[in-house]
Symmetry: C2
Subunit: 261 residues, 2 copies
């Protein structure tokens, strides 16, 4: 099932995508909901951010090639994590599919994409086990963990580098049923492929993360966990359009524009 | 004005504190509200977490003594920030006044408090100036940035050390009118004073932070900025009660208990 948050005729609601149409729903997928009677052509609606998570979890280094490329940039050797550890991103930075990533006027040219699988939590969960961890997963969407690499090196935390407004596109919708082993993440800049990796080639997969996080955190409906990226991005410039495609979910597309001052 | 989120007779709402009473309010202080007719004795209501921020900002190192003590622990020299930089905390960790901080079973004995002034944002704001920065502040509350120091050293981010469930007590209420220059933060463990500092003795104050953050982030109603702490904490043990008192706001009190497994 494919859940879309959308606006049509001035009204924002959840909906279910069926083919080229979206069927409006009353309520929301994390609580009570009822299929409505209104149907809209998907191409005619404004796609909204699926949700603002209560807690916004993000895995830093979870694919080997990305780790090596990060180490090369820093002039160090790759430091492969020996256990699943998590970081955070900021809700202020979230934008929807087809909204613009605005590169701050003071940013350098080192603007990179990071295409990521996003796990959406569906229920309250603590102290999960390997056997029941996946029960708390509602579905999957796509994230672009946009990063300014000069700030990433200069700052004490990732505050500007990864959390400036518009730096966290997420969407376009939530797919509840995927086949993790068959998924590929493909990234295109202006229609040309610039990255491709097996989505599930993670150093630590979804289950180990859910088990480890839930030792310390009660996960909540609507929380998201961004699972990290592989490979590296070219430097992006104003006008570039980045598409992140994950098998079985869809395509998250955003244009990058430089802030005018 | 003093805003309290509270529960009485099974109903949770905002209220205004007047003396020893709280007057229920319909709506919320960030939008439309109307003074109700119901009044409760403050001592009879359950004090709730004032809010769950959309984005949860927290200043890491913002007082000189704390910086020096952190450097001493790490065996390094204090690295005084030369500009205001921000970090984040996780919404899952928030609890209210008088709720228990649960020390995870796997934590070490290095459990510390950090008493902090919390700035509560009242309106959308970006690109603030020194002249208008304070206009976006709704009020002030108190935070305890509970930290597990062994994890803080061992982990790549502050995920467990500062964001484990219950590690972020905040409250008891929001005071809209304070005199920053006359405020003192006093911390007591089991009634005995263990720390005291001038609340506004920050390396970078509220205005420079608001100006700098809002260059990159649109602040939103209900966002909070925890302003850092001074001094150091003794190791806390199960049963300890920590009170953080800030002049003109009130006292945030929480008991620490070890998780039973």
């Amino acid at each position: 099932m494919r859940w879309l948050k959308f606006t049509a005729a001035g009204k924002t609601s959840w909906g279910i995508i069926e083919g080229e149409h979206v069927i409006a729903v009353e309520g929301d997928p994390f609580g009570e909901w009822r299929r409505g009677t209104q149907s809209h052509a998907l191409k005619d609606v404004k796609i909204e951010l699926p949700l603002i998570p209560r807690t916004f979890y993000c895995v830093g280094l979870n694919y080997l090639k990305h780790l090596k490329e990060a180490a090369d940039r820093a002039g160090t050797v790759p430091n492969v994590p020996d256990r699943p550890e998590i970081g955070y991103r900021a809700q202020n930075a979230l934008i929807a599919h087809d909204e613009d990533v605005v590169i701050p006027a003071s940013a350098t040219e080192k603007i990179h994409y990071e295409g990521e699988l996003v796990v959406v939590i569906g229920k309250k969960a603590k102290h999960l086990t390997e056997a029941n961890a996946m029960d708390c997963v509602f579905g999957y969407t796509i994230g672009n963990d946009v990063s300014e690499r000069t700030w990433q090196k200069a700052d004490r935390s990732l505050w500007r580098s990864k959390n400036a407004d518009t730096f966290k596109p997420m969407g376009p919708w939530i797919e509840t049923s995927v086949d993790l082993e068959r998924m590929e993440t493909v990234i295109r800049v202006n229609g040309q492929e610039t990255g491709r990796f097996r989505t599930n080639d993670m150093i630590f997969g979804i289950v180990p993360f859910l088990v480890e996080l839930s030792k310390y955190f009660a996960l909540s409906p609507g929380d998201v966990i961004w699972m990290g990226t592989d490979g590296a991005s070219p430097d992006l410039k104003s006008g570039d359009v980045v598409e992140i495609d994950i098998t079985g979910i869809g395509t998250l597309r955003n244009r990058f524009v430089k802030e005018e001052v």
